[in-house]
């Protein structure tokens, strides 16, 4: 029986590490790449349109003669930054509201659950699009829209786990011993949900990056000339025959980043 439990755990560990390394590699490219090979992601040189790799542009040039290496590095900073900001906001909101709903119960709980269920009923991308239409500034709109979509899962997980924990004899004992809500949260609730939150955050980041890329791909996300993963793919799609490497670069980078995040999250049931 112990063997049956131990073996998947070991592979699970390896999988998580592979994912983390993959994410680290992509981020290292985004942050350190432009330092190693200085260049401007916006500078055009139409003579070099779709030209192959060279010293100043290790991944070649796009249809407008811009260095794909630098555009990709820029894009790989933008999407994860927005995604991370959205996940942090959503995680914090979900954590606070979930704990509140579980602790207070009654009307607070009912109102918050209804709100979360109502948001779940809307397709996530549609919600992001609506918010993008309302909020000025695309990056800000993405942050707001994605936060609005992502908090629901954090909320539901926190609420469910916190409700069970709060009903346990351990919490009752702590309260009888004179401890307040802060102590109960720190010693009982947080250790129960921390790992779960981390897993959800990794999945959430992947979802957010994918959403930004998907909307960019259909021309309703980031606006040109901002380098963004989805936008780069759709811009380079017509030239796939002439410059396959140019199209493959953003595809491979996106795939590596999403795969890394998903692997690092491990299984959904930690």
């Amino acid at each position: 029986m112990t063997d049956a439990v131990m073996i998947p755990r070991a592979t699970d560990h390896a999988v998580r590490w592979t994912g983390t390394l993959l994410v680290a590699a992509v981020l290292a490219f985004a942050l350190l790449g432009p330092l190693a090979v200085p260049g401007d992601p916006f500078a055009q040189s139409l003579l070099k349109a779709l030209a192959g790799p060279e010293a100043g542009a290790p991944l070649g040039y796009d249809h407008l003669g811009r260095s794909i290496f630098h555009r990709l590095a820029h894009a790989l900073r933008l999407s994860p930054a927005i995604a991370l900001a959205a996940v942090l906001t959503a995680g914090l909101a979900g954590l606070i509201l979930g704990t509140l709903a579980a602790a207070r119960g009654g009307w607070t709980d009912r109102v918050l659950v209804t709100l979360a269920d109502a948001l779940l009923a809307l397709p996530g991308l549609l919600l992001v699009l609506i918010v993008l239409g309302i909020v000025p500034g695309t990056a800000l709109g993405f942050w707001a829209g994605l936060s609005l979509v992502l908090w629901v899962e954090f909320f539901r997980l926190t609420r469910a786990a916190t409700r069970d924990t709060l009903a346990s004899p351990a919490v009752q004992a702590s309260r009888l011993l004179g401890f307040g809500p802060a102590y109960v949260f720190r010693t009982h609730i947080w250790p129960e949900i921390a790992l779960m939150m981390l897993t959800t955050a990794a999945f959430g980041t992947a979802t957010a990056i994918m959403a930004i890329a998907a909307l960019g791909f259909v021309h309703v996300g980031m606006r040109a000339p901002t380098p963004e993963l989805g936008l780069m793919m759709v811009e380079l799609l017509p030239y796939w025959r002439e410059a396959p490497l140019a199209l493959l670069s953003p595809v491979i980078a996106t795939f590596a980043l999403l795969l890394g995040l998903t692997l690092s999250a491990g299984s959904r049931t930690p």
């Binding site: 112990t2 004899p169 010693t187």
Partner: protein, 480 residues
């Protein structure tokens, strides 16, 4: 006639031996009881005899069943005996019945599949079984419509449908109160009288005494003492057996009753409900410093709810609970049935205790001073709750309460999951605490003997609640 003979049975987990050589035999008509605490290896012994050990454990030794000789190291050889020669009575049998199948079909299915008679004959045999076990009319019911005792009889009928002559019952009385426990013992003995052998594995001295026959006492995987049950019970030879028997609440010396003491808590006309049903009404009693009130009653009668009402965790449906003035809220504490569930499970015990000491302005040295008083080793403090034995953890829970200087402790079946010797220690410490700290204790237990030896006054809950301040002995008699 010898039905089963086992020689030099050992069980090992890799290189560590967890059961040292045990030899035993089972005669028809004479029950054999294997008695031991949790972790003594008694269940492993039974599993080795049946060939059902978990995969990572390996057994050695020879088992002769009827005219077959089997090697304990090759469990697959036992398979063909299951149901035909050996029947196993599962722990908590009502959980082993199929909830979606009527009672008679569960038994006739076993008849049909194990021995293979036709459907009509299987039905006839089932009807015979039901008549014999006094289950007439219960055949069309689903398990949830059966009482606990009936479910147990159905499970026995199903287990024996294959005509097995050897019945192995592993902890058949787990989680039962005294009356139900005797019912199970009588049922097993009745089955034995039909011919065949009975092997009972238990930690319950009362069950062992009632089953009789021969006794093997196990401890840490080793045989401590063997002999006729009545002889061993009356005159144990080994010190461990003596301790074990002395730890039976029936054999405890009665505690010196405490009278007087300032009142800590007064209940007047108390009533409580659960799910709209009245649990009890009109309870009035005082709890005095240093006095212990025993609370008994069948399961589901509201013992735990009463405690929660006293502690202010659940509102009373009627009546009042009045604590003595000038006592802080934290003077009212609870000792839980499952100590593992009462500690934050991700925190080392020492940190939890240090938090409590700090919250109540006590120095860390007080924890160090209390540890030896409760017979606890300091090394336990670095562990998490799940890595400490139940008895130690319950004592740590008591230590945690002492840091608060409680005036009232509601002890909700604090020893029902502990072994007899540990139970005796914990209850003795609780009595001691009550005396030295001047603390009122409300001790819930389903064991009338334990309550009658410990409590100064007894409250018996049930369909017709008996008022408090009846002497313990009367209550014990009334319960039996």
């Amino acid at each position: 006639m010898t039905l089963l003979k086992a020689e030099d049975i050992t069980v090992a987990d890799g290189a560590t031996r967890i059961l040292h050589p045990v030899s035993l035999y089972l005669d028809s008509g004479e029950p054999l009881v294997i008695l031991g605490e949790t972790g003594s290896g008694k269940s492993l012994l039974a599993q080795a005899l049946m060939g059902t050990l978990p995969g990572e454990l390996s057994a050695r030794g020879r088992v002769a069943i009827g005219d077959r000789l089997l090697d304990a190291a090759r469990p697959e050889g036992f398979r063909m005996l299951w149901g035909r020669d050996i029947a196993v009575l599962p722990q908590e049998p009502w959980l082993s019945l199929d909830p979606l199948m009527r009672a008679d079909r569960q038994v006739s299915e076993a008849h049909r599949l194990v021995r293979g008679p036709g459907a009509a004959e299987a039905r006839d045999r089932t009807a015979d079984d039901f008549r014999r076990l006094d289950l007439t009319g219960a055949g069309q019911r689903y398990p949830h419509e059966l009482s606990g005792g009936m479910a147990q009889r159905v499970a026995i009928a199903a287990a024996r449908a294959g005509g097995a002559r050897i019945v192995i019952a592993d902890e058949p009385t787990k989680g039962l109160d005294a009356a139900r426990r005797d019912g199970v013992a009588d049922l097993l003995l009745a089955e034995l009288s039909r011919g065949g052998g009975l092997l009972v594995i238990t930690h319950d001295l009362a069950l062992a005494r009632r089953i009789g026959g021969r006794l093997i006492v196990l401890r840490d995987g080793q045989v401590v003492e063997t002999g006729p049950t009545a002889t061993v019970m009356a005159a144990p030879v080994q010190p461990y057996t003596r301790d074990l028997i002395a730890a039976d609440p029936d054999n405890w010396p009665a505690r010196k009753p405490v009278t007087g003491g300032a009142t800590v808590l007064t209940a007047t006309g108390l009533a409580a409900e659960r799910g709209g049903a009245r649990l009890f009404t009109g309870l009035s009693f005082d709890l005095g410093e240093g006095r212990i009130m025993g609370v008994t009653g069948p399961s589901g009668c509201g013992k735990s709810t009463l405690g929660d009402v006293m502690l202010g965790l659940v509102p009373a449906a009627a009546g009042r609970v009045e604590p003595a003035p000038a006592l802080p809220r934290t003077a009212f504490q609870k000792l839980y049935q499952d100590p593992v569930a009462a500690f934050p499970r991700h925190r080392a015990l020492g940190r939890t205790l240090a938090d409590v000491a700090r919250r109540h302005g006590q120095g860390q040295d007080r924890i160090g001073a209390l540890l030896p008083r409760l017979g606890l080793a300091p090394v336990l403090l670095s562990r998490r709750p799940a890595a400490v034995s139940g008895g130690e953890l319950q004592r740590l829970a008591l230590l945690r309460l002492l840091l608060v200087r409680p005036k009232f402790i509601f002890a909700d079946e604090p020893t029902s999951r502990l072994d007899p010797i540990t139970q005796k220690q914990v209850i003795a410490l609780l009595c001691d605490t009550s005396e030295t700290e001047g603390c009122a204790v409300m001790l819930v237990s389903h064991d009338p003997a334990l309550v009658s030896r410990t409590a100064d006054h007894v409250l018996s809950l049930g369909p017709a609640p008996v008022d408090a301040d009846v002497t313990p002995r009367d209550i014990a008699a009334a319960l039996q």
